[in-house]
Amino acid sequence: MEFVVEEGKRVNEECSTLILPALSIGNVGQLAVDLLVSSTGANRVGYLDDPNLLPCVGNDAYGPLPCGDIALPLEVYESPSSATTLAQQRSTVAKGMMIKFAENIADFAASSGKKHVIVLSSLDFQRLHHNLDMSRCVLLLGNYFRGPQVYYLSNVEANGRDEHCERLGFGRLNEYDSEGRCWKYLSSVFDENCKEELTFPSEDELEDIDYYPSLPFAALFSAFKARGLKVTCLLCYCSEGDNIPDAFLLAEAASKLTGLTPDKFHGEEGGKWQIPYSWKSMYGAPPDMSIF
């Protein structure tokens, strides 16, 4: 993976926090990063060129009007006012290459002096329903939930717990089990000193407990952890559909975690979330009214 600084730009070494998405159901992590880039007025400082990412290009996603600046698959933005670097991933990782991709991006984070990495992602809502237990008490009456809306996984403590996240009201991802076969596999893959040769179960062998470590956020978590970086995954349960509210949820959670407050944003009317220009056409063109 090559980090290419955009012409005329320089990297701010004070930006010690990195926020990036892990691809997931509803693309919620990516939408949340879009919202953060747009609202904090973060500037693009460069690109990450990785052969494991499938190619895609587009026009500038943020606006206020698209001016023809091309958008690439993996871009790096900086918001010096919040000491935060944001990486936006727009295309998928080639099949079978997630481990290599995670390794590469962890290398980038470590070599560029990042201290804390925040991974934004989402989980299939059907899994929450499936894992229903009394301590979570989920009521599906008009989508009313009793329970945290944002979950987290951290490497601050061995069991995934982080006191700071607890105080912010995030729910710990109880399904994390560092001794589980898939989590152990991920740890071993990124650990240069690991002599144990473990294998990831094949698709036919996967069980319910393997759902979480099979997701991209788990590979990223394990890779950053192996590089000695503090990593926090922020997750929300959702379904495919209109995932804008989920994006706001995750973006707000990331803001709380980094100490960002809305008055530091550069949104319209001062200090509010700014909707990225590219979201205006998220659901395609309006219907053809001439048929009526």
Partner: protein
């Protein structure tokens, strides 16, 4: 690429071949030492293979100063309305292309924000951006048909005035027909 069968290809390059052909157009002027390469990609390159093909085209033996890529708008990635009766075209450019003199650039509106282009052309444009090479990606719609062929021909003529597109237009229109697309199937040689 092992997944691409060459059976059915001709020795002389043909529009019906599943191949990637590179043609050289050298300027006849003694003062102009530059040459133009025309690359015709007549086979499907999967996104996973795009990086491999792009390195063969512009990152190793071929050193380019400027690249112009022509592709079709992919309806699955386009967020606007695409009518089969309407010819559309748009562009994306690298930063170095944007900085060049307006008269030397392709005169088209930018591709709308929110829609994306993937595949080999995206891979090429991305690489040119990273390597600071002047590059324009022109995408047109519809994918097939005489109207888009005429548009592409006119565009090529504006970029390479010495190209005689008029004499080949009829042949190109013959090959660019959706109803003949089944002949391109891998089942037949």
């Amino acid at each position: 690429m092992p997944e691409v069968p060459f059976s059915g290809n001709t020795v002389e390059s043909s529009l019906q071949d599943k191949s990637c052909n590179i043609h050289s157009l050298t300027s006849s002027s003694t003062d102009d030492k530059s040459s133009i390469l025309l690359v015709s990609v007549q086979l499907h390159v999967s996104p996973e293979r795009s990086n491999l093909v792009l390195r063969l085209l512009i990152c190793q033996d071929i050193i380019t100063k400027r690249v112009i890529i022509m592709d079709s708008i992919q309806s699955r990635n386009f967020r606007g309305r695409l009518s089969p009766d309407e010819t559309l075209a748009a562009k994306l450019e690298t930063s170095s292309e944007k900085k060049a003199a307006t008269t030397s650039r392709v005169n088209l509106d930018y591709f709308p924000s929110g829609s994306v282009i993937d595949g080999l052309s995206a891979s090429l444009l991305s690489r040119c951006q990273v390597k600071n090479i002047r590059c324009s990606l022109v995408v047109s719609w519809p994918e097939f048909g005489p109207s888009v062929i005429r548009f592409v021909g006119a565009l090529l003529k504006s970029i390479v005035p010495s190209l005689d597109v008029g004499s080949v237009n009829k042949d190109l229109e013959k090959y660019s027909s959706r109803k003949d697309a089944w002949i391109e199937s891998d089942l037949y040689t």
